[in-house]
């Protein structure tokens, strides 16, 4: 499902998707280190994305039954839902994915984030 949010190879740079940026490891760290309300929120967001999003486009859940195009349509319906709580949860899911994705050194380099003197993960640099 996370690879539907940010798939690999749809842009030349960054070409990485969320999974290639280390989502699984990040998710494990998030479960260990995030405060309780964020952990619970992410679990609820994942539940909603998997089990509720397909219903919004008239499909039977879970979302994993479907190909990429349908999954994208389901998640877009979640993002644009009239139900505030669903939008909030989807926003939290995107935020969590972004916390992983935007921290990836290759992604940062591809989007023009400058070299930082104290970055232990830096790619290249002056």
């Amino acid at each position: 499902m996370v690879d539907t949010l940010l798939p690999e190879g749809v842009q030349p740079a960054p070409s990485r998707g969320a999974l290639e940026a280390g989502w699984e490891e990040f998710h494990r760290a998030f479960e260990r280190q995030a405060v309780g309300r964020l952990r619970l929120g992410l679990r609820a967001a994942l539940f909603v994305a998997i089990w509720v999003a397909p219903v919004l486009i008239g499909r039977v859940p879970p979302i994993t039954l479907y190909g990429r195009e349908t999954r994208e349509r389901a998640l877009e319906a979640l993002e644009r839902s009239r139900v505030y709580a669903l939008r909030q949860l989807f926003g939290l899911l995107k935020l969590t994915v972004a916390l992983c994705y935007g921290a990836d050194p290759e992604v940062r380099q591809a989007i023009g984030y400058p070299f930082q003197h104290d970055d232990p993960h830096r790619v290249g640099g002056p």
């Binding site: 405060v35 909030q88 935007g102």
Partner: protein, 503 residues
Amino acid sequence: MIVDGERQMRPIEESFDYVIVGSGAAGATAARVLSDASSSIAVVEEGPAVNAAQFEDRTFPSLRRLYRDMGAQVARGRALIPVLQGRCLGGSTVVNSAIMWRLPEDVWASWDRDHSLGSALPLRELHRHWDQIEEELSVGSTPREVWGGNNSLMERAGRVMGISAGPMRRAVRDCRGSARCQTGCPFDAKQSMAVTYLPHAERRGATLFTRARVDRLGLKGDRAVAVERWLAEAPAGRRYVRLRLHVPKAVAVAASAIHAPGLLRRSGVRSPHIGAHLQVHPGASLIGVFDQPVDMWVGATQGFESDQHRRDGRFKIESVSLSPEMLIARLPGIGPRWARNITQASHMAMWAVDLRAEAEGRVGGRGDRALIRYGPSPRDMANLRAGLRFTAEMLFAAGAREVLPGIHGLPERITRPGDAGLIGSGPDDPRAYAFAISHMFGTARMARRGEAGVVGPDFAVHGVDNLFVVDSSVFPTNTGVNPQLSIMGLAMHAANGIRDRKA
């Protein structure tokens, strides 16, 4: 001396002339003043001490280490609005953009007119304090060398539109424009309390207790006599370490407008005004996409502003740079659409509306979690929409090819300047907007009489002789400008009074 509460295994009982609860702008300023008069001072901070070498260029670990609830503290109303606060030695001054505004004279005049506080807070004296603070914190206008693209574009917008806009005044020394204020300045260029007033107090003998949460204050009759318990957090879970700090002279509460009310309640202070009258500055932002690179990660995090409509529209426009993670999270779309937006990140500028909202909320709760009830009023929403429309017009004036509103119910992108009006006529519902709050006021407000507020003109809690609240909780209203310097000026005024009190 820094005492790490997490490492304390046995009960401690000590005595200090003064105990200050909280180490942010207000607490550190009080410590700076009082430490010149006495070496017997304790500053108690809930968060850890973190130095520049420990700041990380990644958002997740920074949220974990430096922010309260990892940034997940929220105000509940119709919408859930994040309430951002630093939680480390130096408080929010470690993670803010060091923007320095003196309390506007029109706001001071309203405090005098509506709350009769002019003689309690003499403007001339406040200006004297601000002069001193500005000198000590190297406050100055953001130099052109560190404007970078995001700030420079706002300068262009100001010029094109002929509006009041200029570089922000900030507390920095040799800023390198790394745009990393919000995760802690890795160069100690930002003159946060952690590198200025707290070390000053420490050199004069103050003890800084970190990772130590004040549970309650001990009151005896009409006096505060002790800080009775702390809660220290250990990695393997929570544990209590009982500590008792005797306080023969005074306790100054500087735990923020969000957390001072709970502390006062837990300590047995009674007033219907504790936690009431919460006022804030809700903020919401727009992204402009430009043909040329903007590189918002080069330049001061927040270096330019427009106060054109501060008085008539109750909003101010500020440039703001987000970390890659937070910017990506803010971009619309999923799948290829989100990915395409991400590729444009280096061509984006972000500007925010900081709203002087009229609505009042409430901070409840007695435990260690504040329950914040807040929602903007319909008039606030109208002002917000006007502010966002004005921001969109500024972005187009600066040359943006499109604006990403990030507002539910509006198009994902607006490509024609003439369509900026769509934002002005956007939804009334606050749930359509992505707000954030970082300036909070009024939950222990100052009033001449106890029936109208929590503290008197001398900052002492009504009915308790030596218990003072010295942070923005005492402000009778919000200010409409970034509050750090106002908070510090009032805290300095309060601390001078505490120091000069007769025993």
